[in-house]
Symmetry: C2
């Protein structure tokens, strides 16, 4: 049986491995903690509301986004902790004790650390 960690990672990667969903996720990542209403996302990305809803459900099930109701709208926002957890899993043990090996990864990390 596969480890639970890898199953969860595959679920998150599968959620992101789709052009429409990756666009939604990136839009939410940029939108920040306030998030965006489903309708706003649909208009910005020009997708049908039912298709968007299905894709948001996939992202939410994977834990990458969360939602709350605000009047008639449902506001979605990216889950930064979950995203960080996924990145962490991908780079886990990448170095294996040798700093020179994972230099490209460290460079990305340095860029992220600037903020």
């Amino acid at each position: 049986m596969a480890s639970q960690k890898i199953v969860k990672a595959v679920e998150a990667l599968s959620a992101l491995a789709h052009e429409g969903r990756l666009s939604v996720f990136r839009l939410l990542v940029r939108a920040g903690p306030d998030g965006l209403a489903a309708g706003d996302i649909a208009r910005k990305l020009d997708v049908l509301p039912n298709t968007l809803s299905a894709n948001l459900t996939v992202l939410a099930t994977a834990g990458l986004v969360s939602s709350r109701r605000d009047g008639r709208s449902i506001i979605y926002k990216a889950d930064y902790d979950r995203m960080a957890g996924l990145l962490n899993f991908l780079i886990e043990d990448c170095c294996n004790g040798d700093a020179s090996i994972c230099a490209p990864v460290a460079a990305v990390a340095a860029k992220a650390a600037c903020c």
Copy 2:
């Protein structure tokens, strides 16, 4: 038409969004620049050689691994630059100028930077 960047990112994420392929990729990431022979990977992960071959092809097409022949064996290794590029794309503009928002991501970055 979607940007080429997002298409390539989806290709890489799709390649990783599979339990068998993610295991292979992580094994190669840990194996380092010397890589591993296809047969060694098949034995370590207990998968059929033809199934493994198909999955290695998917990873190679996505640019996440590369291969070279060594006698009868074909040695595969992870492409660290490509992995770094994917991570970079995922965290791109995550901060949007506000350091407090992407703190969890920065924490992962700091961990990666330790090596």
